[in-house]
Amino acid sequence: MEDGKLSRGPMIAITLLRVVVGWHFLYEGIAKLSSTSWSAAGYMKQARGPFADLFRWLAGQPNLLEYSNLITMWGLTIVGVLLMLGLFSRLASLAGIGFILLFYLANPPFVGYFYSLPMEGSYLVVNKQLVELFALVVILVSGSGRFAGLDRMVHRLIARRPRVAAASAPARVEPA
């Protein structure tokens, strides 16, 4: 997306949004990494809603659970850093959307679901996870990283090389 499609004010606002969402991801990841015994099993076992069986099954598979734990801890951390830096921000936004979608689906506040755990607010279908998810959708489509972020520099570096040159470069011939 070219800058200029959105004017400067909204782009600054979306960039701030990207930084705070990234901050949240980064700390969620780091907090899990620095805990001695964090595992996603507890969260998965408490799953409710249409996908509850899937999450509970996953919690009972030691191999898959180990991968899930590693992917969650490192994934959240990396997505957080990338969002904050504005590096590969579209890829990071998509990955972030994927993570939040999984968290949301494990405990969705759908109609008719009641939770015994006290929640700090009142939710019907939409909760804060979903709001953060849609914040990432805004970041995804706005190209905020190319407005203010390392993506801008990456983009320039790549764009500096004329495409024709790359296309017409002679294929290297290995000596026989």
């Binding site: 930084v19 901050w23 700390y27 904050m84 504005g86 801008r152």
Partner: protein
């Protein structure tokens, strides 16, 4: 039109070639990097805060630690229970971890050694406890949290090597094993504490010493009931890359990895739920009643779980007869592992009151009910032994519901709370008692002899289920 503008733009950029990176690109490109620095700063602050909070929690203990003799400790068995004990020990002043022994070197051993190093304990990892005893000459005490069928060998060899031992319950899976442990403790003169940790829990001590001993609030105890209801739990597994090679599993007495992880369910290795859960609570029956049972009848079986991977009984119901100094008592206990409702508690019922108690701080943490015909408890409330009663509004409710309070129905008793809360991990006071005893400043709350009495009481339940008839205890059964 906007479209025309865009086309013009494109044409211009094509003519000029790609735009070079300018200062604006550099500034905007790096504009959000400082946020990462800010994050790093906030994270550092948060870590400092957490460290300070941890140190503040340990401050009174640290102050005491100054004049406390350092005890060098090793852990044998770094599984789930070993972890629980380690977490509690890290809060006890004056301990220095020297070694961690676990045959699951790939996972448990490494995990606990790494965790200890984060708390500045340099512990060496061992697979073979004998090698550990050979090399770690400066050890004072060993904490054992291995599967039950290893307890006797581990404890006896450690005692003979001159170490004091804290051994998890059940003391042993066989009475022969348990007896030889008592003998080894006597022969060596070293301390052997068995991990019935309720014996050091301040709430249980308060109830035993003050409510039952001094105030005799319950009057004549005639019946006891207790339970541990636990929900279905999936079998424990292990990721493929941490699986122990078969030769090593066999060497340490396990058929395969599943058995290694789920040893509590196998005959010859553990004792099943009645031993894992029941022994904690039946031990309290013996303690609070001040005597050992004379008879037990029991029913149970493997009603729910897969018999291919579960040998012990998932459901057990037992009734003990006691002949206490105050008179005969019947005590019921049940454990089932298919539904966790109403959790776990012990309930002592006398002609003047009821004591409902649990190790859990969340449920049944200590309630005393005064029977309407008991003498007033005001003096005990004034002394702070109990909270003031919550009056049951039975009369009002009965009127509301237009039901008549039948003359045969007893009025509900007043409910008092036991005002003792344990804010530390459940096992900490019992470990603290052990280490105080190691330093010569306390008597063990659960020495080998008491652990043995408890083992005799509990292991008999499994025998009674198999026998299908009541089994008797002789007083000498409890002696070594």
């Amino acid at each position: 039109m906007a479209g025309d503008e865009k086309d013009k733009d494109k044409a211009r950029s094509a003519a000029e070639g790609p735009r070079r990176m300018d200062r604006r690109d550099l500034l905007l490109g790096l504009s959000t990097v400082p946020a990462l620095g800010l994050f790093g700063y906030a994270w550092q602050k948060q870590r400092q805060y957490e460290r300070a909070a941890r140190e503040a929690a340990a401050a009174p203990q640290q102050a005491a630690a100054a004049d406390v003799q350092t005890v060098n400790v090793a852990l044998i068995g770094a599984g789930a229970q070993g972890q629980v004990l380690t977490d509690a020990m890290l809060r006890i002043p004056g301990l220095r971890f020297r070694a961690v022994c676990d045959v699951w070197t790939e996972y448990n051993q490494r995990r606990v050694v790494n965790m200890l190093s984060r708390f500045k304990h340099e512990a060496n990892g061992y697979e073979d406890y004998r090698e550990m005893l050979d090399k770690e000459k400066e050890l004072d005490a060993v904490v054992i949290a291995t599967p039950d069928f290893w307890h006797a060998r581990h404890a006896i060899d450690c005692l003979k090597a001159g170490k004091h031992v804290y051994c998890e319950k059940e003391m042993s899976n066989t009475l022969d094993g348990a007896r030889s442990m008592v003998a080894a403790a006597r022969d060596t003169g070293k301390l052997l504490q068995i991990g019935h940790q309720r014996r050091s829990n301040p709430r249980y001590l308060h109830c035993y010493e003050k409510l039952l001993g001094e105030a005799k609030l319950l009057g004549r105890i005639v019946t006891v009931n207790g339970q541990w209801n636990r929900a279905v739990a999936a079998d424990l597994g292990a990721p493929d890359r941490y699986v122990i090679p078969e030769a090593r599993l066999k060497q340490y007495g396990f058929k395969d990895m599943h058995q290694f992880r789920n040893w509590r369910w196998y005959k010859g290795l553990g004792g099943g739920p009645i031993v894992d859960l029941g022994s904690h609570q039946i031990d309290i029956y013996n303690w609070f009643l001040g005597s050992n049972p004379t008879r037990v009848m029991a029913s149970g079986g493997l009603l729910y779980h897969d018999p291919k991977t579960h040998e012990w009984y998932d459901t057990v119901m037992a009734v003990y007869d006691y002949d206490t100094p105050a008179g005969p008592v019947k005590a019921y206990y049940q454990t089932q592992t298919t539904n966790g409702s109403q959790g776990y508690f012990e309930n002592f019922m006398g002609d003047q009151g009821t004591l409902l108690i649990s190790e859990s701080e969340l449920n049944y943490a200590g309630r005393v009910y005064r029977d309407p015909n008991a003498p007033a408890w005001d003096q005990w409330v004034q002394k702070g032994y109990l909270t003031a009663p919550k009056i049951q509004e039975v009369q009002e409710k009965a009127e509301e519901s237009s039901a008549i309070l039948d003359v045969r129905e007893s009025a509900s008793p007043d409910e008092h709370k036991v005002p003792v809360v344990l804010r530390d991990p459940y096992h900490q006071p019992h470990l603290q008692n052990f280490f105080n005893a190691v330093r010569g400043k306390a008597k063990l709350n659960c020495p080998a002899e008491i652990g043995y009495e408890s083992a005799v009481t509990v292991i008999k339940v499994n025998e009674a289920i198999d026998a299908g008839v009541p089994l008797s205890f002789k007083p000498e059964d409890f002696k070594v």
